[in-house]
């Protein structure tokens, strides 16, 4: 155990700094990711923000029915795919295949999307 000490909890300053550095890595094209988890975190948070924004847009337009749900999955998966394959140029095999990256945080993003869509839709259009 002595060689592997427990991780120290991050202080507020440290975590703010790490968020900033993660953001700068995320917007840098073809960044060499040394930590796989960091890249997956970027995909996760990107998805959450995208879910919320898409939900608000769908509610505002308003999009209705099955087409709204299908379009969400299409746009969400397509953006993540384009991000990792053309912007970051990641080798998906390193992460255990394309599905591992594409499904990272998808369900959570879907539920955030639904909440935003339902709330804005019923506030504006009913």
């Amino acid at each position: 155990m002595a060689n592997h000490p427990l991780k120290k909890p991050k202080s507020d300053g440290e975590s703010a700094q790490s968020t900033q550095s993660l953001l700068s890595k995320a917007i840098q094209p073809e960044y060499q990711w040394t930590d796989k988890d960091e890249f997956l975190d970027v995909v996760y948070w990107m998805r959450q923000i995208m879910g919320l924004i898409l939900g608000l847009v769908w509610g505002f337009i308003p999009l209705k029915g099955f087409i709204g749900l299908a379009l969400f999955f299409l746009v969400n998966v397509a953006i993540v795919y384009l991000y990792y394959s053309t912007f970051q140029k990641i080798d998906e095999e390193e992460y255990g295949g394309a599905s591992e990256i594409l499904k990272e945080g998808l369900m959570t993003s879907f539920s955030s999307f639904l909440v935003a869509w339902i709330i804005l839709y019923s506030a504006l259009h009913s």
């Binding site: 959450q48 029915g65 955030s112 639904l114 909440v115 339902i118 709330i119 019923s122």
Partner: protein, 181 residues
Amino acid sequence: MLSDCILIVCISICTALLGEGLTWLMVYRTDKYKKLKAEVEKQSKKLEKQRETESNDRTQKKKLERQEEKLKNNSRDLSLVKMKSMFAIGFAFTALLSMFNSIFDGRVVANLPFTPISFIQGISHRNLPGEDYTHCSFIFLYILCTMSIRQNIQKILGLAPSRAASKQGTGFFTPPSQLGR
């Protein structure tokens, strides 16, 4: 209608925070949990690395199997430590949920922009009068809110299980056939 929705979002934020707070109090801050978690994470990462450089050497394979066994035991212990508090919190939240359920009983809290498929209608139209299936009940919106908010709170606070550990699939509820791979 909007005020109901906002209230539900607030309720789910509060319950998620309360749940995580209670789990922290009972589980996350204990030394036993910290030690086990660090151990499981370390072993999962090590195992993943070793699997990548797979060799046909028999002694190597045996070593790998022994490590897998150790990891399996450790993650089982980890799940057991978590389980007690999960049960306690589960009971508390069931009581809380039934209270909210009676407050919002028969009330349409939102209009859905889509008609849910039949087996979800049971939840989304729970205790609501009429046949309009785009009406949304409290419980449906609450479940959706909790699904998104709880996971994100865990992630922000750094309490979500690590990817390496969950990828190994050695949790308490993993069927044995999967473990034997």
